[in-house]
Amino acid sequence: MGNIIVLVEHRRGEIRDITFEMLMKGKKLSESTGRPLNAILFGNNVGGMAEQLRSRAKRVVLIEDQKLENFNSETYQQALRNVIEGEKPFLLLIGHTAFGMDLAPSLAALLNAPLATDCIDVMVEDNRIKAIRQPYGGKVNVEVCLKPAEQSMVTVRPASFSVEEYSLDGEIIRVSSPVTGESASKRFVEYVEAAAGELDITQAPILVSVGRGIKGPENIPVVQELADSLGAVLSCSRPVVDKKWLPKDRQVGTSGKTVKPKVYIAIGISGAFQHAAGMKGSGTIIAINRDSKAPIFNIAQYGIVGDLFKIVPALKGKIKEAFG
Protein backbone atom coordinates (compact mmCIF):
# COMPACT_ATOMS: atom_id res chain seq x y z
CA MET A 1 0.00 0.00 0.00
CA GLY A 2 1.37 3.40 -1.01
CA ASN A 3 2.49 5.91 1.56
CA ILE A 4 1.49 9.44 2.30
CA ILE A 5 4.60 11.53 1.85
CA VAL A 6 5.34 15.10 2.82
CA LEU A 7 8.25 16.86 1.12
CA VAL A 8 10.01 18.91 3.78
CA GLU A 9 10.50 22.57 2.89
CA HIS A 10 13.31 24.44 4.55
CA ARG A 11 15.35 27.52 3.77
CA ARG A 12 18.55 28.88 5.27
CA GLY A 13 18.64 26.39 8.09
CA GLU A 14 15.00 26.55 9.14
CA ILE A 15 12.10 24.21 8.51
CA ARG A 16 9.26 26.28 7.09
CA ASP A 17 5.80 26.30 8.74
CA ILE A 18 4.16 24.73 5.69
CA THR A 19 6.06 21.51 6.45
CA PHE A 20 4.39 21.09 9.85
CA GLU A 21 1.01 22.05 8.40
CA MET A 22 1.32 19.35 5.72
CA LEU A 23 2.51 16.78 8.27
CA MET A 24 -0.55 17.57 10.42
CA LYS A 25 -2.87 16.94 7.48
CA GLY A 26 -0.79 13.93 6.45
CA LYS A 27 -1.14 12.43 9.92
CA LYS A 28 -4.93 12.74 9.78
CA LEU A 29 -5.03 11.18 6.30
CA SER A 30 -2.69 8.45 7.52
CA GLU A 31 -5.07 7.63 10.38
CA SER A 32 -8.17 7.59 8.19
CA THR A 33 -6.60 5.48 5.41
CA GLY A 34 -4.15 3.29 7.36
CA ARG A 35 -1.33 4.41 5.08
CA PRO A 36 2.04 5.23 6.68
CA LEU A 37 3.13 8.86 6.92
CA ASN A 38 6.66 9.60 5.76
CA ALA A 39 8.62 12.81 5.43
CA ILE A 40 11.31 13.28 2.80
CA LEU A 41 14.12 15.64 3.72
CA PHE A 42 16.76 16.78 1.24
CA GLY A 43 19.66 19.03 2.16
CA ASN A 44 23.21 19.30 3.35
CA ASN A 45 24.01 19.00 7.07
CA VAL A 46 20.33 18.76 7.96
CA GLY A 47 20.54 15.89 10.47
CA GLY A 48 19.24 18.27 13.15
CA MET A 49 16.13 18.91 11.11
CA ALA A 50 15.58 15.17 10.72
CA GLU A 51 15.70 14.84 14.54
CA GLN A 52 13.21 17.67 14.84
CA LEU A 53 10.82 15.92 12.40
CA ARG A 54 11.06 12.48 14.01
CA SER A 55 8.15 13.21 16.31
CA ARG A 56 5.97 14.38 13.42
CA ALA A 57 6.21 11.43 10.98
CA LYS A 58 6.59 7.65 11.14
CA ARG A 59 9.68 7.74 8.99
CA VAL A 60 11.95 10.56 7.96
CA VAL A 61 13.77 9.70 4.76
CA LEU A 62 16.96 11.74 4.83
CA ILE A 63 19.17 12.42 1.84
CA GLU A 64 22.19 14.62 2.37
CA ASP A 65 24.29 15.92 -0.46
CA GLN A 66 26.22 19.12 -1.03
CA LYS A 67 24.37 19.42 -4.32
CA LEU A 68 21.10 19.61 -2.38
CA GLU A 69 22.31 22.44 -0.15
CA ASN A 70 20.27 25.10 -1.93
CA PHE A 71 16.97 24.45 -3.64
CA ASN A 72 17.19 23.77 -7.35
CA SER A 73 14.03 22.31 -8.92
CA GLU A 74 16.06 20.22 -11.36
CA THR A 75 18.28 18.61 -8.73
CA TYR A 76 15.30 18.06 -6.44
CA GLN A 77 13.35 16.55 -9.30
CA GLN A 78 16.15 14.12 -10.08
CA ALA A 79 16.46 13.11 -6.43
CA LEU A 80 12.70 12.82 -5.88
CA ARG A 81 12.22 10.69 -8.96
CA ASN A 82 14.66 8.17 -7.53
CA VAL A 83 13.27 8.20 -4.01
CA ILE A 84 9.73 7.89 -5.27
CA GLU A 85 10.55 4.73 -7.16
CA GLY A 86 11.36 3.15 -3.80
CA GLU A 87 8.70 4.89 -1.73
CA LYS A 88 5.79 4.57 -4.17
CA PRO A 89 3.74 7.37 -2.64
CA PHE A 90 -0.01 7.15 -2.91
CA LEU A 91 -0.04 10.88 -2.21
CA LEU A 92 2.85 13.34 -2.21
CA LEU A 93 2.21 16.66 -0.48
CA ILE A 94 4.31 19.70 -1.42
CA GLY A 95 3.79 23.32 -0.33
CA HIS A 96 2.17 25.76 -2.73
CA THR A 97 5.03 28.15 -2.07
CA ALA A 98 7.83 29.66 -4.13
CA PHE A 99 9.60 26.31 -3.54
CA GLY A 100 6.68 24.04 -4.47
CA MET A 101 5.45 26.16 -7.36
CA ASP A 102 8.85 25.75 -9.01
CA LEU A 103 9.03 22.01 -8.41
CA ALA A 104 5.64 20.28 -8.30
CA PRO A 105 4.25 20.97 -11.80
CA SER A 106 7.31 19.74 -13.68
CA LEU A 107 7.77 16.78 -11.35
CA ALA A 108 4.13 15.75 -11.86
CA ALA A 109 4.55 15.99 -15.64
CA LEU A 110 7.74 13.90 -15.44
CA LEU A 111 6.07 11.21 -13.30
CA ASN A 112 2.81 11.43 -15.26
CA ALA A 113 1.15 11.92 -11.86
CA PRO A 114 -2.13 13.79 -11.37
CA LEU A 115 -1.54 17.10 -9.60
CA ALA A 116 -3.97 19.50 -7.93
CA THR A 117 -2.35 22.82 -7.04
CA ASP A 118 -2.97 25.45 -4.36
CA CYS A 119 -5.34 23.28 -2.33
CA ILE A 120 -6.86 24.30 1.00
CA ASP A 121 -7.99 20.76 1.87
CA VAL A 122 -7.32 17.18 0.77
CA MET A 123 -9.59 14.18 1.26
CA VAL A 124 -9.30 10.47 0.48
CA GLU A 125 -12.64 8.78 -0.22
CA ASP A 126 -12.66 5.13 -1.36
CA ASN A 127 -9.03 5.48 -2.42
CA ARG A 128 -9.91 8.49 -4.58
CA ILE A 129 -8.09 11.71 -3.83
CA LYS A 130 -10.15 14.86 -3.76
CA ALA A 131 -9.09 18.38 -2.99
CA ILE A 132 -10.62 21.79 -2.39
CA ARG A 133 -9.20 24.71 -4.36
CA GLN A 134 -10.08 28.37 -4.13
CA PRO A 135 -9.99 30.05 -7.55
CA TYR A 136 -11.22 33.54 -8.52
CA GLY A 137 -9.22 35.22 -5.77
CA GLY A 138 -10.94 33.17 -3.07
CA LYS A 139 -14.49 34.01 -4.11
CA VAL A 140 -15.56 30.41 -4.66
CA ASN A 141 -14.43 26.97 -3.58
CA VAL A 142 -14.03 24.15 -6.06
CA GLU A 143 -13.93 20.46 -5.27
CA VAL A 144 -11.70 18.59 -7.70
CA CYS A 145 -11.19 14.89 -8.09
CA LEU A 146 -7.77 13.58 -9.15
CA LYS A 147 -7.67 10.92 -11.84
CA PRO A 148 -7.04 7.47 -10.37
CA ALA A 149 -3.31 6.78 -10.46
CA GLU A 150 -0.64 4.86 -8.57
CA GLN A 151 0.83 8.10 -7.32
CA SER A 152 -0.72 11.53 -7.04
CA MET A 153 0.42 14.96 -5.95
CA VAL A 154 -1.22 17.88 -4.19
CA THR A 155 0.30 21.28 -3.44
CA VAL A 156 -1.02 22.81 -0.25
CA ARG A 157 -1.70 26.51 0.35
CA PRO A 158 0.18 27.83 3.39
CA ALA A 159 -1.81 28.33 6.62
CA SER A 160 -4.61 25.99 5.49
CA PHE A 161 -4.16 23.64 8.45
CA SER A 162 -3.55 24.52 12.07
CA VAL A 163 -0.86 22.48 13.74
CA GLU A 164 -1.77 20.53 16.89
CA GLU A 165 0.54 18.85 19.37
CA TYR A 166 1.32 15.17 18.77
CA SER A 167 4.33 13.00 19.12
CA LEU A 168 5.26 10.01 17.02
CA ASP A 169 8.37 7.98 17.61
CA GLY A 170 9.54 8.04 14.02
CA GLU A 171 12.73 6.58 12.65
CA ILE A 172 15.29 8.33 10.49
CA ILE A 173 16.22 6.44 7.36
CA ARG A 174 19.36 7.64 5.66
CA VAL A 175 19.42 7.06 1.92
CA SER A 176 22.47 7.70 -0.23
CA SER A 177 22.11 10.58 -2.62
CA PRO A 178 20.93 9.64 -6.09
CA VAL A 179 22.06 13.01 -7.47
CA THR A 180 24.71 12.29 -10.05
CA GLY A 181 25.96 15.71 -11.08
CA GLU A 182 25.37 19.42 -10.90
CA SER A 183 22.52 20.55 -13.10
CA ALA A 184 24.05 22.48 -15.99
CA SER A 185 20.81 23.87 -17.32
CA LYS A 186 19.70 25.50 -14.04
CA ARG A 187 22.01 26.85 -11.35
CA PHE A 188 21.31 28.46 -8.00
CA VAL A 189 23.40 31.64 -7.78
CA GLU A 190 22.54 33.42 -4.53
CA TYR A 191 19.89 34.86 -2.25
CA VAL A 192 19.26 38.58 -2.44
CA GLU A 193 17.57 40.40 0.45
CA ALA A 194 15.13 43.17 -0.40
CA ALA A 195 16.67 46.57 0.25
CA ALA A 196 15.53 47.74 3.67
CA GLY A 197 12.91 50.45 3.25
CA GLU A 198 12.80 53.70 5.13
CA LEU A 199 9.67 52.72 6.93
CA ASP A 200 8.97 49.81 9.27
CA ILE A 201 5.22 49.20 9.12
CA THR A 202 5.51 46.28 11.55
CA GLN A 203 6.00 48.72 14.46
CA ALA A 204 2.85 50.80 13.86
CA PRO A 205 0.03 50.40 16.43
CA ILE A 206 -2.58 51.35 13.83
CA LEU A 207 -2.37 50.63 10.12
CA VAL A 208 -4.63 52.15 7.50
CA SER A 209 -4.17 49.84 4.53
CA VAL A 210 -5.31 50.35 0.93
CA GLY A 211 -5.86 47.94 -1.93
CA ARG A 212 -6.85 47.85 -5.55
CA GLY A 213 -10.19 49.50 -4.69
CA ILE A 214 -8.43 52.84 -4.36
CA LYS A 215 -8.39 52.84 -8.18
CA GLY A 216 -5.49 55.22 -8.81
CA PRO A 217 -2.50 57.04 -7.32
CA GLU A 218 -4.51 60.29 -7.30
CA ASN A 219 -6.61 58.83 -4.48
CA ILE A 220 -3.72 57.93 -2.17
CA PRO A 221 -3.70 61.38 -0.42
CA VAL A 222 -7.26 60.81 0.85
CA VAL A 223 -6.27 57.67 2.75
CA GLN A 224 -2.95 59.21 3.80
CA GLU A 225 -4.92 62.05 5.43
CA LEU A 226 -7.15 59.52 7.18
CA ALA A 227 -4.06 57.73 8.49
CA ASP A 228 -2.52 61.03 9.62
CA SER A 229 -5.68 62.04 11.47
CA LEU A 230 -5.47 58.78 13.45
CA GLY A 231 -1.72 58.88 14.02
CA ALA A 232 -1.64 55.70 11.94
CA VAL A 233 0.78 54.49 9.27
CA LEU A 234 -0.35 53.90 5.68
CA SER A 235 0.23 50.40 4.32
CA CYS A 236 -1.16 48.51 1.32
CA SER A 237 -1.80 45.24 -0.50
CA ARG A 238 0.27 43.88 -3.36
CA PRO A 239 -1.58 45.39 -6.37
CA VAL A 240 -0.86 48.90 -5.05
CA VAL A 241 2.89 48.15 -5.03
CA ASP A 242 2.76 46.35 -8.39
CA LYS A 243 1.23 49.48 -9.90
CA LYS A 244 3.89 51.64 -8.20
CA TRP A 245 1.31 53.72 -6.31
CA LEU A 246 3.17 53.07 -3.03
CA PRO A 247 6.68 51.73 -2.34
CA LYS A 248 7.40 48.09 -1.51
CA ASP A 249 8.21 48.77 2.16
CA ARG A 250 4.47 49.50 2.72
CA GLN A 251 3.33 46.08 1.48
CA VAL A 252 1.50 43.68 3.82
CA GLY A 253 1.30 39.99 2.90
CA THR A 254 3.22 36.83 2.02
CA SER A 255 5.68 38.64 -0.22
CA GLY A 256 5.75 41.76 1.98
CA LYS A 257 5.57 42.21 5.75
CA THR A 258 3.64 40.34 8.41
CA VAL A 259 1.98 42.85 10.74
CA LYS A 260 0.08 42.64 14.02
CA PRO A 261 -1.12 46.16 14.86
CA LYS A 262 -3.80 46.83 17.47
CA VAL A 263 -6.09 48.04 14.70
CA TYR A 264 -5.94 47.29 10.98
CA ILE A 265 -8.27 49.21 8.69
CA ALA A 266 -8.45 47.50 5.27
CA ILE A 267 -9.76 49.84 2.59
CA GLY A 268 -10.63 48.44 -0.82
CA ILE A 269 -8.73 45.21 -0.12
CA SER A 270 -10.47 42.00 -1.19
CA GLY A 271 -8.47 39.85 1.22
CA ALA A 272 -6.82 37.23 -0.98
CA PHE A 273 -4.95 34.65 1.15
CA GLN A 274 -1.56 36.18 0.38
CA HIS A 275 -2.73 39.40 2.02
CA ALA A 276 -4.64 37.72 4.85
CA ALA A 277 -1.53 35.72 5.78
CA GLY A 278 0.26 38.98 6.56
CA MET A 279 -2.39 40.67 8.73
CA LYS A 280 -4.83 38.21 10.27
CA GLY A 281 -2.98 38.37 13.57
CA SER A 282 -4.03 42.02 13.99
CA GLY A 283 -5.96 42.92 17.15
CA THR A 284 -9.05 44.40 15.53
CA ILE A 285 -9.67 44.36 11.79
CA ILE A 286 -12.11 46.80 10.19
CA ALA A 287 -12.76 46.31 6.47
CA ILE A 288 -14.34 48.66 3.95
CA ASN A 289 -15.26 47.03 0.64
CA ARG A 290 -17.90 47.38 -2.06
CA ASP A 291 -18.39 43.65 -2.38
CA SER A 292 -20.24 42.03 0.53
CA LYS A 293 -18.77 38.64 -0.52
CA ALA A 294 -15.14 39.80 -0.42
CA PRO A 295 -13.03 37.28 1.58
CA ILE A 296 -11.77 40.15 3.79
CA PHE A 297 -15.13 40.09 5.62
CA ASN A 298 -14.37 36.55 6.81
CA ILE A 299 -11.34 37.68 8.76
CA ALA A 300 -12.47 41.18 9.79
CA GLN A 301 -14.38 41.69 13.04
CA TYR A 302 -16.15 44.76 11.62
CA GLY A 303 -17.22 45.29 8.04
CA ILE A 304 -18.52 48.22 6.05
CA VAL A 305 -20.09 47.35 2.73
CA GLY A 306 -20.05 50.44 0.56
CA ASP A 307 -18.21 53.02 -1.47
CA LEU A 308 -14.88 53.85 0.14
CA PHE A 309 -14.89 57.24 -1.58
CA LYS A 310 -17.94 58.22 0.50
CA ILE A 311 -16.97 56.48 3.73
CA VAL A 312 -13.32 57.52 3.97
CA PRO A 313 -13.99 61.31 3.76
CA ALA A 314 -16.86 61.01 6.28
CA LEU A 315 -14.63 59.04 8.62
CA LYS A 316 -11.77 61.51 8.22
CA GLY A 317 -14.08 64.45 9.06
CA LYS A 318 -15.54 62.75 12.14
CA ILE A 319 -12.12 61.69 13.40
CA LYS A 320 -10.84 65.24 13.17
CA GLU A 321 -13.90 66.34 15.18
CA ALA A 322 -13.49 63.58 17.74
CA PHE A 323 -9.74 63.59 18.24
CA GLY A 324 -8.84 66.90 16.52
Binding site: A131, V140, C145, E190, I206, G256, T284, N298
Partner: protein
Protein backbone atom coordinates in the same frame (compact mmCIF):
# COMPACT_ATOMS: atom_id res chain seq x y z
CA UNK B 1 15.78 36.59 -29.83
CA UNK B 2 12.48 34.83 -30.45
CA UNK B 3 10.05 35.14 -27.55
CA UNK B 4 6.70 33.41 -27.17
CA UNK B 5 4.18 34.66 -24.58
CA UNK B 6 1.19 32.56 -23.50
CA UNK B 7 -1.75 34.76 -22.53
CA UNK B 8 -5.33 34.25 -21.39
CA UNK B 9 -8.53 36.26 -21.47
CA UNK B 10 -10.13 36.07 -18.03
CA UNK B 11 -13.22 37.46 -16.30
CA UNK B 12 -12.61 40.26 -13.83
CA UNK B 13 -14.16 39.02 -10.63
CA UNK B 14 -12.53 41.14 -7.92
CA UNK B 15 -15.43 43.58 -7.79
CA UNK B 16 -18.15 41.44 -9.38
CA UNK B 17 -21.01 39.47 -7.91
CA UNK B 18 -20.33 35.83 -8.65
CA UNK B 19 -23.13 33.40 -9.46
CA UNK B 20 -22.68 29.64 -9.73
CA UNK B 21 -24.07 28.35 -13.05
CA UNK B 22 -26.70 25.65 -13.62
CA UNK B 23 -24.18 22.84 -13.97
CA UNK B 24 -22.84 23.64 -10.49
CA UNK B 25 -19.35 23.07 -11.88
CA UNK B 26 -18.51 26.59 -13.05
CA UNK B 27 -19.42 30.22 -12.47
CA UNK B 28 -21.85 32.16 -14.65
CA UNK B 29 -19.79 34.16 -17.13
CA UNK B 30 -22.66 36.22 -18.53
CA UNK B 31 -22.39 39.85 -17.49
CA UNK B 32 -18.75 39.69 -16.40
CA UNK B 33 -16.14 42.00 -17.92
CA UNK B 34 -13.17 40.20 -19.49
CA UNK B 35 -9.61 41.38 -20.00
CA UNK B 36 -6.08 40.00 -20.34
CA UNK B 37 -4.98 38.10 -17.23
CA UNK B 38 -3.05 40.61 -15.13
CA UNK B 39 0.12 38.48 -14.82
CA UNK B 40 0.09 37.89 -18.59
CA UNK B 41 -0.02 41.64 -19.19
CA UNK B 42 3.26 41.93 -17.29
CA UNK B 43 4.66 38.98 -19.28
CA UNK B 44 3.80 40.64 -22.62
CA UNK B 45 5.43 43.90 -21.47
CA UNK B 46 8.55 42.03 -20.33
CA UNK B 47 8.80 40.26 -23.69
CA UNK B 48 8.58 43.57 -25.53
CA UNK B 49 11.22 45.14 -23.29
CA UNK B 50 13.51 42.19 -24.03
CA UNK B 51 12.85 42.49 -27.77
CA UNK B 52 13.68 46.21 -27.60
CA UNK B 53 16.93 45.41 -25.81
CA UNK B 54 18.10 42.28 -27.62
CA UNK B 55 16.21 42.37 -30.94
CA UNK B 56 14.06 39.58 -32.39
CA UNK B 57 10.29 39.29 -32.23
CA UNK B 58 7.43 38.43 -29.91
CA UNK B 59 4.66 35.93 -30.69
CA UNK B 60 1.58 35.72 -28.47
CA UNK B 61 -0.50 32.56 -28.10
CA UNK B 62 -3.88 32.18 -26.45
CA UNK B 63 -6.14 29.22 -25.93
CA UNK B 64 -9.72 30.39 -26.13
CA UNK B 65 -12.82 31.26 -28.13
CA UNK B 66 -13.08 33.99 -30.76
CA UNK B 67 -13.36 36.65 -28.02
CA UNK B 68 -9.74 35.86 -27.11
CA UNK B 69 -8.82 37.75 -30.31
CA UNK B 70 -9.39 40.97 -28.32
CA UNK B 71 -6.71 39.91 -25.86
CA UNK B 72 -4.32 38.91 -28.64
CA UNK B 73 -4.89 42.25 -30.40
CA UNK B 74 -4.14 44.11 -27.20
CA UNK B 75 -0.77 42.30 -27.08
CA UNK B 76 -0.17 43.07 -30.76
CA UNK B 77 -0.88 46.73 -30.04
CA UNK B 78 1.66 46.59 -27.21
CA UNK B 79 4.30 45.44 -29.69
CA UNK B 80 3.94 41.71 -30.34
CA UNK B 81 4.54 40.74 -33.96
CA UNK B 82 2.44 37.60 -34.43
CA UNK B 83 -0.62 36.09 -32.74
CA UNK B 84 -1.91 32.53 -32.64
CA UNK B 85 -5.23 31.35 -31.19
CA UNK B 86 -5.86 27.72 -30.25
CA UNK B 87 -9.46 26.69 -30.22
CA UNK B 88 -11.54 23.53 -30.40
CA UNK B 89 -14.67 22.24 -28.66
CA UNK B 90 -12.46 19.40 -27.38
CA UNK B 91 -10.37 21.93 -25.38
CA UNK B 92 -13.31 22.73 -23.08
CA UNK B 93 -12.71 21.83 -19.40
CA UNK B 94 -8.95 21.35 -19.79
CA UNK B 95 -7.06 21.54 -16.48
CA UNK B 96 -3.60 23.07 -16.04
CA UNK B 97 -1.88 19.95 -17.33
CA UNK B 98 -4.05 19.66 -20.45
CA UNK B 99 -3.63 23.39 -21.17
CA UNK B 100 0.15 23.00 -20.99
CA UNK B 101 0.00 20.01 -23.36
CA UNK B 102 -2.12 21.90 -25.93
CA UNK B 103 0.25 24.88 -25.75
CA UNK B 104 3.26 22.58 -26.15
CA UNK B 105 1.88 21.21 -29.42
CA UNK B 106 1.50 24.70 -30.82
CA UNK B 107 4.87 25.93 -29.57
CA UNK B 108 6.89 22.79 -30.36
CA UNK B 109 7.32 23.49 -34.10
CA UNK B 110 8.05 27.24 -33.63
CA UNK B 111 11.48 28.81 -33.18
CA UNK B 112 11.96 30.19 -29.64
CA UNK B 113 14.64 31.26 -27.20
CA UNK B 114 12.32 32.19 -24.39
CA UNK B 115 8.74 31.37 -23.44
CA UNK B 116 6.97 33.62 -20.95
CA UNK B 117 3.73 33.01 -19.08
CA UNK B 118 2.14 34.77 -16.13
CA UNK B 119 2.78 33.16 -12.72
CA UNK B 120 -0.90 32.21 -12.57
CA UNK B 121 -4.30 33.29 -13.85
CA UNK B 122 -6.87 35.35 -12.00
CA UNK B 123 -9.55 32.73 -12.71
CA UNK B 124 -8.27 29.15 -12.21
CA UNK B 125 -5.10 30.19 -10.41
CA UNK B 126 -3.32 26.88 -11.08
CA UNK B 127 0.16 28.41 -11.18
CA UNK B 128 1.33 25.28 -12.97
CA UNK B 129 1.04 25.82 -16.73
CA UNK B 130 4.49 27.38 -17.31
CA UNK B 131 6.64 24.79 -15.50
CA UNK B 132 4.51 21.93 -16.89
CA UNK B 133 4.99 23.30 -20.40
CA UNK B 134 8.75 23.43 -19.78
CA UNK B 135 8.83 19.79 -18.70
CA UNK B 136 6.84 18.67 -21.76
CA UNK B 137 9.20 20.64 -24.02
CA UNK B 138 12.20 19.28 -22.06
CA UNK B 139 13.62 22.73 -21.32
CA UNK B 140 14.49 24.46 -18.02
CA UNK B 141 12.17 26.86 -16.22
CA UNK B 142 12.09 29.41 -13.44
CA UNK B 143 8.81 30.42 -11.81
CA UNK B 144 7.75 33.65 -10.09
CA UNK B 145 10.35 35.75 -11.88
CA UNK B 146 10.41 39.38 -10.71
CA UNK B 147 13.57 40.50 -12.50
CA UNK B 148 15.46 39.48 -15.63
CA UNK B 149 18.97 40.59 -14.87
CA UNK B 150 20.81 39.59 -18.04
CA UNK B 151 20.57 37.40 -21.09
CA UNK B 152 23.95 36.52 -22.57
CA UNK B 153 25.85 33.57 -24.06
CA UNK B 154 22.69 31.50 -24.36
CA UNK B 155 21.85 31.82 -20.66
CA UNK B 156 19.47 33.95 -18.60
CA UNK B 157 20.12 35.23 -15.10
CA UNK B 158 16.81 35.91 -13.33
CA UNK B 159 15.44 36.64 -9.87
CA UNK B 160 12.74 34.42 -8.40
CA UNK B 161 10.53 36.00 -5.74
CA UNK B 162 10.48 33.96 -2.54
CA UNK B 163 8.47 34.78 0.58
CA UNK B 164 9.04 37.75 2.88
CA UNK B 165 10.95 39.98 0.46
CA UNK B 166 13.73 37.49 -0.31
CA UNK B 167 14.81 36.80 -3.91
CA UNK B 168 16.67 33.79 -5.28
CA UNK B 169 18.93 34.36 -8.28
CA UNK B 170 19.10 31.49 -10.77
CA UNK B 171 20.98 31.03 -13.98
CA UNK B 172 19.25 29.12 -16.79
CA UNK B 173 20.22 27.68 -20.12
CA UNK B 174 18.09 28.89 -23.05
CA UNK B 175 15.60 28.11 -24.37
CA UNK B 176 13.68 28.28 -21.12
CA UNK B 177 10.27 29.05 -19.69
CA UNK B 178 9.90 31.94 -17.23
CA UNK B 179 6.69 32.59 -15.31
CA UNK B 180 6.41 36.33 -14.74
CA UNK B 181 5.37 37.92 -11.45
CA UNK B 182 3.18 41.01 -11.29
CA UNK B 183 5.01 44.26 -10.62
CA UNK B 184 8.11 43.29 -12.66
CA UNK B 185 7.57 46.29 -14.97
CA UNK B 186 5.01 48.95 -15.83
CA UNK B 187 2.92 47.61 -18.73
CA UNK B 188 2.42 50.20 -21.44
CA UNK B 189 -0.98 51.68 -22.02
CA UNK B 190 -2.82 50.60 -25.13
CA UNK B 191 -5.09 53.17 -26.78
CA UNK B 192 -8.11 52.42 -28.94
CA UNK B 193 -6.12 53.90 -31.84
CA UNK B 194 -3.34 51.45 -31.06
CA UNK B 195 -5.75 48.52 -31.23
CA UNK B 196 -7.19 49.85 -34.49
CA UNK B 197 -3.74 49.92 -36.03
CA UNK B 198 -3.36 46.16 -35.52
CA UNK B 199 -6.95 45.26 -36.47
CA UNK B 200 -5.87 43.92 -39.86
CA UNK B 201 -3.07 41.66 -38.63
CA UNK B 202 -4.15 38.10 -39.26
CA UNK B 203 -4.49 35.90 -36.18
CA UNK B 204 -3.56 32.33 -36.99
CA UNK B 205 -6.14 29.86 -35.66
CA UNK B 206 -5.32 26.22 -34.93
CA UNK B 207 -7.67 23.43 -33.82
CA UNK B 208 -7.17 19.94 -32.36
CA UNK B 209 -6.60 18.36 -35.76
CA UNK B 210 -4.15 21.02 -36.89
CA UNK B 211 -2.17 20.48 -33.69
CA UNK B 212 -2.04 16.72 -34.48
CA UNK B 213 -3.79 15.95 -31.20
CA UNK B 214 -6.27 13.22 -30.36
CA UNK B 215 -9.52 14.16 -28.56
CA UNK B 216 -8.47 12.24 -25.44
CA UNK B 217 -5.35 14.42 -25.09
CA UNK B 218 -7.36 17.55 -24.29
CA UNK B 219 -10.40 18.65 -22.31
CA UNK B 220 -11.63 16.48 -19.47
CA UNK B 221 -10.27 13.21 -20.94
CA UNK B 222 -6.79 14.74 -21.21
CA UNK B 223 -6.86 16.32 -17.76
CA UNK B 224 -5.43 15.06 -14.48
CA UNK B 225 -8.12 16.71 -12.36
CA UNK B 226 -11.86 17.05 -12.84
CA UNK B 227 -14.07 19.68 -11.21
CA UNK B 228 -16.86 18.02 -9.24
CA UNK B 229 -18.62 21.07 -7.84
CA UNK B 230 -18.30 24.78 -7.20
CA UNK B 231 -19.63 26.26 -3.96
CA UNK B 232 -19.32 29.40 -1.89
CA UNK B 233 -16.74 29.23 0.89
CA UNK B 234 -18.28 28.75 4.32
CA UNK B 235 -18.29 32.21 5.87
CA UNK B 236 -17.87 31.27 9.51
CA UNK B 237 -18.95 34.01 11.85
CA UNK B 238 -17.86 36.74 9.49
CA UNK B 239 -17.62 40.41 10.25
CA UNK B 240 -20.21 42.40 12.13
CA UNK B 241 -21.49 44.70 9.39
CA UNK B 242 -21.82 48.37 10.34
CA UNK B 243 -24.82 49.99 8.69
CA UNK B 244 -26.26 53.45 8.22
CA UNK B 245 -25.29 56.65 6.44
CA UNK B 246 -21.61 57.41 5.91
CA UNK B 247 -21.69 59.70 8.97
CA UNK B 248 -23.43 57.12 11.16
CA UNK B 249 -20.92 54.47 10.10
CA UNK B 250 -18.07 56.88 10.86
CA UNK B 251 -19.43 57.38 14.40
CA UNK B 252 -19.53 53.62 14.93
CA UNK B 253 -15.95 53.23 13.67
CA UNK B 254 -14.81 55.94 16.06
CA UNK B 255 -16.31 54.18 19.06
CA UNK B 256 -14.61 50.93 17.96
CA UNK B 257 -11.31 52.79 17.64
CA UNK B 258 -11.73 54.29 21.10
CA UNK B 259 -12.52 50.90 22.56
CA UNK B 260 -10.00 48.70 20.72
CA UNK B 261 -7.32 50.97 19.38
CA UNK B 262 -6.40 52.94 22.43
CA UNK B 263 -7.09 56.10 20.43
CA UNK B 264 -7.93 58.78 22.94
Amino acid sequence: MEIIVCIKRVPETADADIVIDKTGRDIEREGLVFDINEWDNYAVEEAILLKEKYGGSVTVISLGPEEANETLRKALAMGAYKAIRLTDPAFQDSDGYAIARILSRAIGPLPYDLILTGVQTEDDGYGQVGPTLAEILQIPHASIVNKIEAIENGRARVHRELEGGLDEVVDLELPAVLTIQSGINEPRYVSIMGIRRVAKIEIKVLDLHELSMKPDEAGEPGSMTVVERVFFPPTGEGAQILEGTADEIADKVISILKEKGGVA
